[in-house]
């Protein structure tokens, strides 16, 4: 593989899969805050 192809593959992975990881973490953290304030109906991810 050429260097430019490797770079773009890594960049794509970082941005898209990294974005997914951030979105999941954000959703989990938001859920955790709600749980601490005692909302019985809340379901965590």
């Amino acid at each position: 593989m050429s260097t430019s192809a490797i770079v773009m593959m890594v960049v794509s992975m970082l941005v898209i899969w990294g974005g997914l990881a951030l979105a999941v973490v954000s959703l989990l953290r938001h859920g955790a805050v709600e749980d601490r304030v005692g909302e019985p109906g809340h379901r965590d991810l």
Partner: protein, 529 residues
């Protein structure tokens, strides 16, 4: 309409019991991912990326995802989650005169379901063909000749038993899933199928990466052509890929969001669904092009000569790869099995749009509505697509329903909600009650300007191409009957259906009681789900 908190939640529980609901946010997210991740992720994205700048395609693709795809996804979520109804009911609750938009979306889903099932049936049959490489030395001749028995381009009633039987199996499976309901059917299927799909496809990608020539395939996919970024058609391809892939704008996400508890974070969920869909597309791109690189090396040709998409990729190129590769049967089972799983979870979502609308309008039970929708859909599907002319009709219906059905109704719905009803502020406020990160003016600008502009550009390029030359050089009568007339009939039928009365007692003016996400949570709500 004001009610007490207790009264609201009692009505909400009754409504949940009547319509069904997902038991948790996790189930909803998996069901939404199951809907978004379909055949297009596996067989369309890799070639679209390759054809439109390779590695450079990631730029317009991400721009389209963040400026149009996710904002539009959140709009669908807001409409369904706030108005707690199927697409027609949610639009009727937004403004009665817009109900027809919902029925237009329902019609599109019904059409998609009847041909989508046929492709899943082909993939199901090919899962077993992979075990003994039934296509021999000529995958193309086998697929069109022996398997589909495709002849001249004319509509026939000559049934192909090899397609009829798996198609019947697919519809029986769909009937069983839909009859079980929102949680026990769609939810449970998603809980099992999505992890299995990810595992199976990951195994396929790992296997493909160790094939000789995989590097050349990935090189072809990811080598950037930066000059492509100056081409409007490349940007249109990126916006088109995002719109078609995310299941937005034709009722699915409105329907699914109406089954989610009113205090869930729909913004965070939308981000997870959007990035999951793109994450799977990237995985598919790596797996497909690694395999194509192997095929090119084995044939002593360039990747450009073997790269393809859609039916050609799945049923011609992949069988050739399976025949050549070590442990090819394993690759075949993983690839076609993934197509079947991804297809089924998407198919149940489009069927649910129709069932949900019928139930809301006529107040029928789950089983009655399921039989009333699935049986006619299955019969039409079997009649049209298990015959020797099935592939031609399928290709034309697919092209026109996607280009002029989904795109047009999505564009009009978005413009109506943003500019005629001016409902974006209220919908954004609804999502912000429990959603993080909060959305505001930026989301409203993207949803009212950027996303419609993106859709309009995609539509312009599609229309330009179809007016320049007949699609795939099919005869005019085929394009007229199964293309243009069909897409014109859909909105007419939609607005006629909107004239039928709602079941007695249906709340139509604004969001229904019990939908306020800021209202106190009733003690029974958690237990009812």
């Amino acid at each position: 309409m004001s009610t007490t908190a207790g009264g609201s939640t009692q009505q909400e529980s009754e409504e949940q019991g009547r319509r069904g609901a997902f038991s948790s946010r996790r189930v909803f997210i998996l069901a939404a991912i199951g809907s978004a991740v379909g055949l297009g992720n596996i067989w369309r994205f890799p070639y679209v990326a390759y054809e439109n700048g390779g590695g450079a395609f990631v730029v317009p693709y991400l721009v389209a995802l963040l400026t149009a795809g996710i904002p539009f996804l959140l709009l669908d979520y807001a409409i369904g989650h706030r108005h707690r109804g199927s697409a027609p009911l949610s639009f009727a609750r937004l403004r009665r005169g817009t109900e027809g938009l919902g029925w237009w979306q329902v019609g599109i889903c019904f059409l998609i379901a009847i041909y989508y099932a046929a492709v899943i049936a082909w993939a199901l049959r090919y899962t077993f063909f992979s075990l003994d490489e039934a296509w021999g030395d000529d995958p193309e001749g086998f697929f069109f000749g022996e398997f589909l028995q495709a002849g001249d381009i004319r509509v026939t009633a000559d049934v192909v038993p090899g397609v009829l039987v798996p198609l019947l199996i697919v519809w029986l499976a769909v009937l069983a899933i839909m009859a079980l309901g929102v949680q026990r059917g769609i939810g449970a299927t998603s809980l099992i199928f999505i992890p299995v799909l990810v595992l199976a496809f990951t195994a396929l990608v790992v296997r493909a990466l160790f094939l000789p020539g995989a590097g050349e395939g990935l090189d072809a996919l990811f080598t950037p052509d930066w000059s492509a970024l100056g081409s409007a058609s490349v940007w249109a391809a990126a916006f088109g890929q995002i719109f078609f892939s995310l299941s937005i704008g034709f009722g699915i996400m409105i329907t699914y969001a109406s089954y989610v508890g009113r205090r869930e974070d729909m913004i965070g969920s939308g981000l997870v669904v959007g990035f999951s869909n793109s994450g799977f597309e990237l995985l598919a791109g790596i797996g497909v092009f690694a395999a194509l690189g192997f095929m090119a090396q084995a044939g002593g040709v360039g990747v450009s000569e073997v790269a393809s998409d859609g039916i050609g990729l799945a049923f011609v190129a992949f069988p050739a790869i399976i025949s050549e590769a070590p442990a090819g049967a394993l690759i075949g089972v993983l690839f076609f099995g993934s197509l079947v799983i991804a297809g089924i979870t998407s198919l149940v979502s489009v069927i649910e749009v129709v069932i949900s609308a019928v139930r809301d309008k006529l107040d029928t039970g789950r089983l009655t509505a399921t039989l009333g929708v699935v049986v006619p859909a299955a019969v039409l599907s079997l009649v049209l697509f298990s015959t020797t002319s099935g592939i031609y009709v399928l290709d034309v219906v697919d092209h026109f329903v996607n280009q002029y059905g989904i795109l047009v109704v999505a564009l009009i719905s978005m413009l109506v909600v943003a500019w005629v009803l001016r409902a974006l502020t209220g919908l954004g406020d609804h999502l912000n009650v429990h959603g993080r990160p909060r959305i505001g003016a930026g989301w409203r600008i993207l949803t009212s300007l950027v996303a419609p502009a993106g859709l309009a550009v995609v539509l312009f390029f599609a229309l330009r191409d179809d007016l320049r030359a007949p699609y795939e050089d099919y005869p005019d009568w085929l394009l007229l009957v199964f293309g243009w007339l069909l897409v014109v009939a859909l909105p007419l039928v939609g607005f006629l259906l909107a004239r039928l009365p709602w079941r007695a007692g249906t709340h139509l003016d604004g969001a229904p009681p019990g939908s306020d996400p800021a209202a106190p949570l009733h003690a029974t709500e958690g237990g009812s789900r």
